[in-house]
C-alpha cells in the first residue's frame, strides 16, 4: 500500500513537473498551428531544440549572458519558422508535415554529429549554463523542500515555477489573440482558406505568423527543459516528442486555450503512473522479467502514447473534455 502511495505521489508530482511544462509549451504552440490555423507541423521539437541549444551554446560555449542566450534561441526559432514556411505554406498540408519532420530530424542529426562537437558537444551535449538562471531564484535553491507529498530540490521548484509562469503568459497571449479579429482570421483559415482569400485576407502571411509564434513558444519550452535538466543533449529532442505533444494537445482538446496545458498534465500523470506502476510490478515479480524488463518501461510510454493517439482520433477526436458538436459540424 505504501508503495502505491509513493507511486501516486510521484505521479502527482509529474502533473506539474518540468516534463509537463515542456510539453505544455510545445502544445500551446502546436495548438496555435494545428488547432487554430490547421497547419500540420510535425517538427515542433526542432523549435524546442533551437531554444534549448540557443541558451546552452550562448552561455556554455560563447560565455554570453543568459538573456542574450534566450534572445538567440528565440531568433533561431523565428528564422527556422520562416525557412520552413516560405516554401511550404503555399502547398498542400502534408507537404508542410513532411518538410517539418525532415527538418527536425536533420537538426538532431547535425547537432549530435562529430563535426559539430566544438559547438554542440555532439552526443555528450552541453552543461553548466544554468548558474545565472538559478542565481536569480528568490529562494534557496541548494536545499530540498517537501511539497505535494514529494520531495523537490530548490532548483526543480524554480525551473518549474518559471516554466508555469511562461505557460500562463503564453496561454493568456493566445486567449487574447483568439478573441481578436486576428484570431478570427486564423480560425477561418482552418475552415477554408479560399473563402478567406476571397474576402481579401493574405492567408499566406497569417499562416506564417502562426507558424512563427507557435515555434517561438516551443523554443521557450526547450529553454526550460535544458535549464531544468542542467544539460542540453540531442536525444532530449527526439522526433517522437513532437507526437507526445500532439497526444497531449488532442487529449486536452484542440482549439481550446487550456487544452494543451491540461492535456500535458494528464499525459504526464498517466506516463509517470504507468512507468512507476510497471516498474513496481516487475520489481515484485508480478510481471515476469522475461516479458518486460526495467529498461523497456521507458519505451512502453511511447507505445501507449501511439496507441492512445490512434484511439483518441478514431473514437474521441474532440479530446476528453471537448464538445462533440463542433466535430460533427465538420463531417459534412
Amino acid at each position: 500500500m505504501s508503495e502505491f502511495l509513493d507511486i501516486l505521489a510521484l505521479s502527482v508530482k509529474s502533473l506539474v513537473s518540468q516534463s509537463a511544462v515542456f510539453f505544455a509549451l510545445m502544445g500551446v504552440g502546436l495548438n496555435l498551428h494545428f488547432g487554430y490555423t490547421g497547419l500540420l507541423n510535425f517538427g515542433q521539437i526542432a523549435f524546442a531544440l533551437l531554444g534549448g541549444y540557443g541558451v546552452a551554446i550562448s552561455v556554455a560555449m560563447w560565455g554570453l549572458p543568459l538573456l542574450v542566450g534566450v534572445l538567440i534561441g528565440v531568433v533561431a526559432a523565428f528564422v527556422l519558422a520562416l525557412l520552413l514556411g516560405l516554401p511550404t505554406l503555399r502547398l498542400r498540408a502534408d507537404y508542410l508535415a513532411i518538410v517539418t519532420i525532415a527538418a527536425a530530424e536533420i537538426m538532431r542529426l547535425v547537432f549530435r554529429s562529430t563535426p559539430a562537437t566544438p559547438i554542440t558537444g555532439a552526443t555528450r551535449g552541453l552543461s553548466g549554463f544554468g548558474r545565472d538562471f538559478y542565481a536569480v531564484a528568490p529562494f534557496e535553491t541548494q536545499r530540498t523542500y517537501d511539497f505535494l507529498g514529494s520531495t523537490w530540490t530548490g532548483r526543480e521548484i524554480w525551473a518549474v515555477l518559471v516554466g508555469w509562469i511562461l505557460v500562463t503568459l503564453f496561454s493568456l497571449l493566445i486567449w487574447q489573440l483568439m478573441r481578436s479579429p486576428w484570431g478570427r482570421v486564423l480560425k477561418a483559415i482552418r475552415e477554408d482558406e479560399d473563402a478567406v482569400r476571397s474576402l481579401g485576407k493574405n492567408v499566406y502571411s497569417y499562416k506564417m505568423q502562426s507558424l512563427v509564434l507557435g515555434g517561438v513558444i516551443a523554443s521557450f519550452g526547450g529553454m526550460i527543459l535544458v535549464l531544468a535538466t542542467g544539460s542540453a543533449n540531442p536525444d532530449q529532442f527526439q522526433n517522437a516528442n513532437t507526437f507526445l505533444a500532439y497526444a497531449a494537445l488532442i487529449l486536452g482538446g484542440t482549439a481550446r486555450v487550456l487544452g494543451p496545458v491540461v492535456g500535458s498534465m494528464i499525459l504526464w500523470f498517466i506516463i509517470a503512473f504507468t512507468d512507476a506502476g510497471l516498474a513496481a510490478l516487475i520489481r515484485n515479480g508480478i510481471i515476469p522479467s522475461e516479458i518486460l524488463s526495467g529498461p523497456d518501461v521507458a519505451n512502453i510510454r511511447f507505445v501507449l502514447v501511439g496507441v492512445g493517439l490512434m484511439m483518441l482520433l478514431i473514437f474521441r477526436p474532440q479530446g476528453i473534455f471537448g464538445d462533440r458538436r463542433e466535430i460533427v459540424l465538420d463531417a459534412h
Binding site: 494545428f34 490547421g38 500540420l40 510535425f42 516554401p87 511550404t88 502547398l91 498540408a93 502534408d94 507537404y95 513532411i98 518538410v99 519532420i101 525532415a102 527538418a103 530530424e105 536533420i106 542529426l109 547535425v110 554529429s113 562529430t114 563535426p115 555528450r124 482552418r190 475552415e191 522526433n239 517522437a240 507526437f243 500532439y246 497526444a247 488532442i250 484542440t254 522475461e290 516479458i291 518486460l292 524488463s293 526495467g294 529498461p295 523497456d296 519505451n299 512502453i300 511511447f302 507505445v303 501507449l304 502514447v305 501511439g306 496507441v307 492512445g308 493517439l309 490512434m310 482520433l313 478514431i314 473514437f315 474521441r316 477526436p317 463542433e326 466535430i327 459540424l329 465538420d330 463531417a331
Partner: protein, 432 residues
Amino acid sequence: MLISVRTRMSGQLAARILVVALTGFAVFLGLAVATQTSASAEGETIRVTLATSVSGPIEGVEVTVTDDQGDEVAQGSTDEDGRFEADLPGPGEYTVAINADDLPEGVTAAVTERPVTVAEGGVGRTAFALSDGSTGQGGGAARIPQLLVEGLRFGLLIAICAVGLSLIFGTTGLTNFAHGELVAIGAIVAWFLNVSAGLPLIAATAIAMAVGGFVGWLNDFALWGPLRRRGSGLIAMLVISIGLSLGLRYLLNIIFGGRSQPYADYRGQRANDYGPISLTDKDLFSIAISLVVLVVVALMLQRTKIGKAMRAVADNRDLAAASGINVDRVIRFVWIVGGSLAALGGVLFGLSDEVSWDMGFKLLLLMFAGITLGGLGTAYGALLGSVIVGMFVQLSTLVIADELKYVGGLLLLIVILVVRPQGILGSRARVG
C-alpha cells in the same frame, strides 16, 4: 476541422481493433520470450570489431576501454577476426579508444574514440568508421564510381520500400507515416528466424515477406479499410498513422532491443574488384534482387489486370469504381504487395546496415524524399526518385561526414519541395 472523424463507433471496427491488439500482443509475447532466451549473457562485456570491406578484419590494433571516471578497465589487441572482447566491471558509460598508429597502411579512422553505454548484463558493441585507402585513394573523383554503385544499391532498396508507400498514397490518398514500420517488421521477423531459429536467410526472407504482406493486409482490413468506409478525413488518418508508427516502433524496440544486430548469414564478406569499383557478393545480389523485383512490379503494373486496375484507381478512384473496378479489393492488394515489398527492403537494408528497431523511421524520410522527387502517387516516379535519393545520399559523403549522409537526403527532400513540388514525373496540376 482537421481531425474530423465521425465518432460513431461501429461495433465491427471495435472488434477488429481488439483482434489486432490481441494478435499484436501475442506476437509480442512470443518474440519477447525469444529475445530473452537468445541473449542470456551473464555479466557485462564489451566487443569491438575492426574491419573494412577490402582489407577484411584488421588484426593487432591496440584497444583501450576506460570508464566514465577516466580509469582504464580493459586493454588488448584485436585478434585475427578483427575482434576485441573484454569483461567489464559493471553496467555504465565507457569509452573505447583504438590506437590509430596500429591500423594498416591506407586505412584511416574518422574517430579513434567512441562512447558506449552498456546495460545491465548487456554486451557493449562498437564499430569504428574506417575509411579504406584502396577504395578511397585519397578521396575525390576516384571514389565517384564506387559511391554511384553503392548509391544505386541503396536507392534500389529505398525504391522497393517506397513503391508500396507511393501506391498506397496514390490509391487511398493516405500519407502513411507507419510505412517505415512495415520495413522494420520485415527485417526483424527475418532476423529472429535467421538468428534465433537458425533458418537460412533466404528462407527467412521469404517468410518475412509473407508476414509483411499479412501485416499490410491486416493494416487495411482492421484499420484503414473501416476508416475509409466511414469517411475519415485524410488529415485525421495521417495523424492516426503517426500514432500507429510511434506505437509499433517502440513495441519493436521492446521486442528487439535498442541495439543494431547483423544477420547470421553472409557476414564479413570480402569485396571483389570490378574495375574501379569493389563490391561484396551480398551487395551485388542485393542490386540484382532489387532490379528483378522492381521489373516484376513494373510488369505487373503494366501488363496484368490487377496492375492496370491499380493504376486506374490511383488515377481516378471514382471513375475506376464507376467502370466496374472493385476499388476495395484493389486497395487491399496494394497493401499486401506494399507490405511484402517493404519487408524485402527491410531485409536488404538489414544486410548492409544491420537490423535495428528504428531502421524503418530512418528510411521513411528517405522514402518520402524519393517519392516526392518522383512525383507523389506515381509508382515509376517513386522508383526513379528513390534511386536518385540513394545516389545523392552516398555521393554526399564526398563533402560531408559519413554520419551526416542522411541529412543530405533530407535536405534534398526540402529542396525538391521548394523547387518542384510536383516532382519529376508528377503533373503540375496535382500541387497547384
